[in-house]
Amino acid sequence: MRAAIEVSKELDVALLTKVYPSRSHSGAAQGGIAAALGNSESDSWEEHMYDTVKGGDFLNDQDAVEEYVKSAPRIIYELEHMGCVFSRTPEGKIAQRSFGGHSKPRACFSADRTGHAILHALHEQLMKQSKTIKIYNEWYMHSLITEGNRCNGVVVSDIRTGAVEVMHAKAVIFCTGGYGRVFKITTNAFASTADGVMAAFDAGVPMEDPEFVQFHPSGLYRQGILFSEAARGEGGYLLNGKGERFMEKYAPSRMELAPRDIVARAEQSEIDEGRGVNGEDYIHLDLRHLGEARIMERLPQIRQLGIDFISVDCVKDPLPIQPTAHYSMGGIPTNKFGQVIVDGEGTKMEGFFAAGECACVSVHGANRLGTNSLLDATVFGERSGKSALEYAKTVDFAKVNEGREKTKVLKLFEDIFQRDGTESYNQIRDEMKVEMMKNCGVFRDDEKLKVCIDNIKKLQSRFKNGKVTDKGKLFNTEIYEIIELGNMLRVAEIIAVAALARNESRGGHYRTDFPKRDDVDFLKHTLVHGSEEGLELKYKPVVITKHQPAERTY
């Protein structure tokens, strides 16, 4: 939406979503959006940059990080001017709280629903700009239309009618989110299914750093639903089954506010070593000492989620939590202007841009800090919008062979409708999620990953032997779920293959057989390409400007 607003300043935009704009998963972001405003303590973009690079275990491209953190304050002020609702300091400034991995209180927030506040503020702007921004609600994007290294549009279908259409475009921007749904325990929405990254992949764009998946430390036990890091930012404790604040052992100086990868691994270690609560695979998030008043002011949604989903009132009892797949650091490779690139040399896919979680700039490196994702979505939303606008003004619509493009998608539908197999798609989806959680999760090793790849491949072939119940065209959600599952099975393999090749531990990727970071061999970005023979791995160097890799302790 931020990108659309930018483009609409001069050109017409079609905004296509498989849900509604206000239902996008950015709305689930709770704790905040980072910017060195210095509203409660002095702060600077330099500190924000260092925290981000250190948090990302030095895999971030530092030229991009610098511009990103420098734009942060302006982006926040713009959101505020648009009408975004923020919690305030007594002087009326935007309030800021502490967050994991940030050395200063830098998270601007709207109680514990910051993503929701930003999402709705942007949606309000779309409604204001309805003359130049046309919204296509409940349309699904199937594939990119490309000719050589130029993108000319997308093939889409209307979920409501099943009609397949070609959308010509001078420029296409993907803001299609992450793919946490490949894991059993995840904070992600059902809609976070890799549609965008796989459409790009099919058009010859590699996938960058897919092995880096962030596990959030506080997912509701069994459900994975997010309990914001803000709960720890406000002073919440993590306790193991013995009632110990175990973070003392893992990150003595930052304790509960160490970066997410470190906290999630600490939790998993406690659980694996039998110190979960009641010996089960969860630990406790204890907020009781904050008191009801502060919880109601700063964390009201968290309290309600606990009551609704697990009948625990965090004012009275600790919340049961476990690590949950949360964020994809990897994605469609772009440069710092949101322009998609197709190789290690920076070759552009003309007319194709990406921003947000689906993209990999890479500003987050191997691990994203909390509150940096809303910032990513807005900063690079704006940047990709600007780039797309400038590009679109210089080109004409290209010729598109509509028939050929449509046929590809119609064939996909036809193929799924025709299948008369015995496999249950639901069963395949469940097995994939368990497999990824077990063998490609918080702790990985060579053996587990090989098993994982093998099993995912088996699931891919079983997938071809399913059967659809709903053969109608009208609002057929079943067929879209199957298409999404197809995408997820492919991205699952890409994640595992990249993870198997990275023989080191860095940020969100932890190999028990290679527990150390290896800057000699692996201070580089992975690029997974598709080819006739299967997946092909290439690498590209990390851009290092100000901060040489150093040991990462908290």
């Binding site: 509604y20 239902r23 305030r88 009326g92 069994r222 459900q223 639901n426 009208l474």
Partner: protein
């Protein structure tokens, strides 16, 4: 084991909706959405509904359970089972498309009508506009709205009057009426006082009951009413009705039912007053006319004292 009685509708196959029963063992801690998903994934793949975040923030999965709108992902399924069954239907006041999916177009059209964006006249400052924590609190509740349509579904006014903006759009309007940064307060409350706006709400409170968030539209509508009256937007039936009501109670401790309709129409609204005559005559024939001489209640002094304290 519980029976989910789900209203099915697929105009591609059959013109009329019907109920279908699905039996399911409700897993421990499962929400209604979890159960509907299980039914789709293990019993009938064609069952159609919307859902996405399953954590009560995207607003996709509102449906009617046992006749009332709920957010499916927010309700523990067990809590909805009565006599071994729970009845699931699509949201009300919107046209069904297929099974539990309804057409949200009118809902969004009405949101659009309230100019749902901040309007300011000044050029923004270099940094943020300031807003005190107290001012933030005035828009805190309304900004929790997730546009799920639960209030719209169960609104009793919308059931009989399509023209009513409805609880969600009015709550969204309060988001800006109450925002200290917005400069169009008077224009907003003037427009919202027109037919179809705040005064068409019947104060039934159904939307407060149905709202899955603290947005609770009726309270927001009342807040707009207060601002409208404070801003002197009195030239409409709704405001005149509220003022006449207050005046009568303050004066005598009871409603002067003869005067309320007249004062609500306005003394110089001849067309409106003439329209009242047939109603008056019918009431007379049915002997429903209140006493011509309006008496005060015995303890009217107490009422006056309450008003005096409220004024202070």
């Amino acid at each position: 084991m519980a029976t989910f009685k789900i209203k099915r509708y697929n105009p591609e196959k059959q013109a009329e909706p019907y109920f279908e029963d699905f039996d399911l063992d409700i897993p421990d801690g499962a929400t209604l959405l979890d159960c509907i998903n299980l039914i789709k994934w293990t019993q009938d793949g064609s069952l159609t509904y919307r859902m996405s975040c399953r954590s009560a923030i995207c607003g996709s999965c509102a449906v009617k359970a046992n006749g009332h709108a709920v957010l499916a992902c927010q309700k523990q399924a067990v809590s909805l089972v009565k006599d071994g069954a729970v009845q699931i239907e699509p949201l009300g006041n919107m046209k069904p498309i297929k099974d539990l999916v309804v057409d949200f177009a009118p809902f969004w059209d009405k949101i659009n009508k309230v100019k749902p964006y901040l309007q300011t006249e000044d050029t923004p400052p270099q940094k943020e506009r300031t807003q005190s924590p107290e001012e933030f609190r005035l828009i805190d509740d309304t900004s929790t709205c997730i546009m799920c349509g639960a209030c719209y579904s169960d609104c009793n006014v919308l059931e009989v009057d399509d023209n009513f903006l409805g609880p969600a759009a009015l709550a969204k309007a309060q988001r800006f009426v109450g925002d200290s940064r917005d400069s169009k307060t008077l224009e907003r409350v003037t427009e919202l006082s027109e037919p179809g706006g705040i005064w068409d709400c019947t104060h039934c409170g159904e939307c407060v009951e149905r709202c899955p968030k603290p947005a609770e539209p009726f309270y927001r509508i009342k807040e707009i009413m207060t601002v409208a009256l404070e801003q002197g937007v009195h030239n409409n039936n709704g405001a005149r009705h509220a003022l006449s009501f207050t005046k009568s109670i303050k004066h005598s401790g009871r409603l002067n039912e003869n005067m309320i309709p007249v004062e609500s129409m306005g003394y110089f609204n001849f067309k409106g007053l003439i329209e009242l005559i047939p109603i008056g005559l019918r009431m007379l024939l049915k002997r429903k006319i209140p006493p011509i001489i309006h008496k005060s209640i015995d303890d009217v002094q107490d009422v006056k004292r309450i008003f005096k304290e409220l004024d202070q």
